[in-house]
Homo-oligomer: 282 residues x 2
């Protein structure tokens, strides 16, 4: 496995592969790998000839009061894990290399409006911009993103489709701990008490799905029950949002009459955790 | 020459060429060709194996009170001219094909701030977005743009470089009528009187360059003289802006101490005409 920090060198390698007809799979990440990341690598590897992984803690997607400086990093361990998982190249650029010269932004305003976009102004502009850059550097056949960051996936899918980036954007299902907590690099922020309570985030979503299956279609009612449940089972948590949205545009729905996504963000101690579940009324 | 309206078909053809090692030259236009456009095609053709030309009157770069509906069009003549000039493919998409689904914008705020960007809010966001889409569809080796739209060229160069689009962006010098008027599709808007006066736009810029050569470096002084000259020689015209800016960032300068660009926009009857000249203090 080669490790490359220079964007031009990374692009040259990837374009060379493309010119030779090699199908490249790509997994862009912020590092500090857990099984979720590794499953994305496996998914990309399974459908392509070469695997590129990037690690870049992208400053432009963090707000001024967010955890950019504290975001967990372990490049040595990540490098070993990427190699073990069969990556052919690991791309680890510096912020200066990714952002040089006058500003250029890629913005996906409609899909970014709600959920995390409302709580984190500018976050998805940073995500869309850096992922556009990374995709245009790697120009992969396939790029894989985790469905935990469901709105991020919708933003990236929209961006890639509207800009005609010739890459298949694939979502990969959420990898969870045995007790149901969605894996996240930010789970390391949790105290023991918070960690014990954290699986209730997912439990609330499955209960909501059960309510839907039992016939409740009204979003206000479904979300009021979810908030009530979180109040009981997650006393240390503070709900940032609970929403039921369209699976592609991420706009809030009032009734669940077709495929939808229930998405939540909860502050638990130092961590802000997100999770979601697909809903399909029978 | 093939004419293609479907973006997917155009992209597939161009990616196929790229995979075969064919060097593609690309000239994106809004059509209604004059010799300026044709010289861009010649410049692209000279350095590549295949030539793609696009005609797309991009709605998102026109303001609500601008000339989108009136913008001159002649697809039949343009098609014949592109064929004569050796184009291998002419891409003529519909607005619906270029803009479908939730909005995505590419913005280059710093380079877009002054000159035409100040007079035409949103104009360069529309330009940067559509050119990003066109470049990603064609993925050419080389794309050629006219230097008459000097700020547009700077916006596109910045956009392509910052997004790592693997295309050489080449500027081509302004093609002028015998009397010095910069060729523009919008020159058809001019009445006979206005047309007779229009060469004074360029004449003012060469006089400014002469003032610089004679030792005047102060931008305020140079621009005051230019305004005064336009007042005398262009009585039918209304100056939108006269500026001397940095050649890459397009930010106004106060002294000319290195390479710079003098740029003007003048309203003359129904037409808004732009022109510019490179300055290099000796």
């Amino acid at each position: 496995m080669r490790t490359i920090t220079d964007p031009a060198e990374f692009q040259s390698l990837c374009l060379d592969w493309r010119a030779k007809g090699v199908r490249l799979g790509f997994v862009p990440t912020m590092g500090y790998f857990h099984d979720g990341h590794l499953s994305l690598m496996d998914a990309a590897r399974a459908e392509t000839d070469r695997l590129a992984v990037s690690i870049f803690v992208n400053p432009t997607q963090f707000g001024p009061s967010e955890d950019l400086a504290a975001y967990p990093r372990d490049m040595e361990r990540d490098t070993a894990l990427a190699r073990e998982r069969g990556a052919d190249v690991l791309f680890t650029p510096s912020p200066e290399a990714m952002y040089q010269g006058p500003e250029v932004w890629v913005d996906v305003p409609e899909v970014s409006r709600h959920l995390c976009g409302a709580s984190r102004p500018g976050h998805f502009r940073g995500v869309a911009t850096v992922v556009a850059k990374l995709l245009l550097l790697a120009m992969p056949h396939l790029a894989v993103f985790g469905e935990k960051d469901r709105q991020q996936l919708a933003v990236i899918r929209t961006m890639a489709r509207q800009l005609f980036i010739p890459t298949i954007i694939k979502g990969h299902s959420i990898v969870r701990e045995a007790d149901g907590l969605a894996m996240s690099s930010r789970n390391v922020y949790l105290s023991a008490d918070e960690r014990a309570m954290a699986p209730m985030i997912h439990r609330g979503l499955t209960a909501l799905r059960d309510d839907l299956a039992a016939g409740e279609r009204d979003v206000k009612t479904l979300l009021a029950r979810l908030r009530e449940r979180y109040g009981r089972t997650l006393p240390l948590g503070e709900v940032d949002y609970v929403e039921i949205v369209h699976p592609e545009t991420m706009t809030p729905l009032s009734m669940v009459t077709g495929p939808a996504v229930a998405a939540v963000a909860v502050r638990l101690g130092r961590a802000r955790l997100i999770d979601n579940i697909e809903l399909t009324p029978s």
